[in-house]
Subunit: 186 residues, 2 copies
Amino acid sequence: MHTATQQIDNGVNVTALLGAREALSQAPQAARFTWRAHCDWVRGTHSQIVVEDFHGLGEAQQHRSRFTFEADHPEVFAAEDHGPTPVEYVLVGLAACLTAGVAAVAQHRGIQLRSVKATVEGDMDIQGILGMDPDVRNGFDDIRVTFEIDADASRSDIEALVAQSQKRSAVYDLLTNPTHVKVSVK
Amino acid sequence: MHTATQQIDNGVNVTALLGAREALSQAPQAARFTWRAHCDWVRGTHSQIVVEDFHGLGEAQQHRSRFTFEADHPEVFAAEDHGPTPVEYVLVGLAACLTAGVAAVAQHRGIQLRSVKATVEGDMDIQGILGMDPDVRNGFDDIRVTFEIDADASRSDIEALVAQSQKRSAVYDLLTNPTHVKVSVK
């Protein structure tokens, strides 16, 4: 078993993550992170957003590079479609979070992954955002995530991987539970 | 007043949006949209996500182009930082949603915007995602959005713009209220 586990390589450094957990248990204030996005309005519903800096392990941190994104509304909303809609960025985050979790849990459990694909869909009645019906919410009514996973494991082991990823997912938690959001003008 | 409103141009086609609202009131099933993201695991916590197709106005729709994103964890999480973290994508969506709303509401109210900047910050205790403490949630404890807006309007009118944007924002709603998310393996 030990030899088999040694050969598993999903590209996740589980040893480092377990070490981090041990180190943070001695210094829990270092576990407090702040993530940031900086947004500049361009025109209409088109904005440009930069992700670059964050705070964690007690100090200012930088990503290895500066990540820049465009967001907009599509042409069917009388806009110019310079980028995905804001709600599609949320689906990008959910897909990536659950997929990273599957890889990390698979590594920890000694399961070699060959491919992981996820399709994430969110249903929305746009009568909400258009202010047509106060009983229709602005966000998604329902979100579905469907995984297709090819791995050296049984179907039940694969289902257990996905369930554990969901249990530890930051974005799944953000969508299924309420978070306080304070909006202010400087 | 009429002349002044005519000169306002934030790039939002309010006439088309009001027309859409009128048309959808006659055909509410056309207001049902489904947004999608397709995710492919690359290696470790690195994934590639595509946003391209959606459903709305009763039929399949395509964005004007195919939008591709990389997501990863940073080097301080023993990963390779090929892209923002999943939770930063959620902040990108929130920033873009509230900013698009500010532009649309300003156009509707006849307020000329000169610049709109937003900084969005989310605080997270990573003891949650590391499974160190069952009382620590995986997602953000708290999110702060700070706008800096330069516009032909009083401070109270600018604050009212932001408040109205927040009221109609899909992503603000998604974060502050719970949504059902179903995760399955195909």
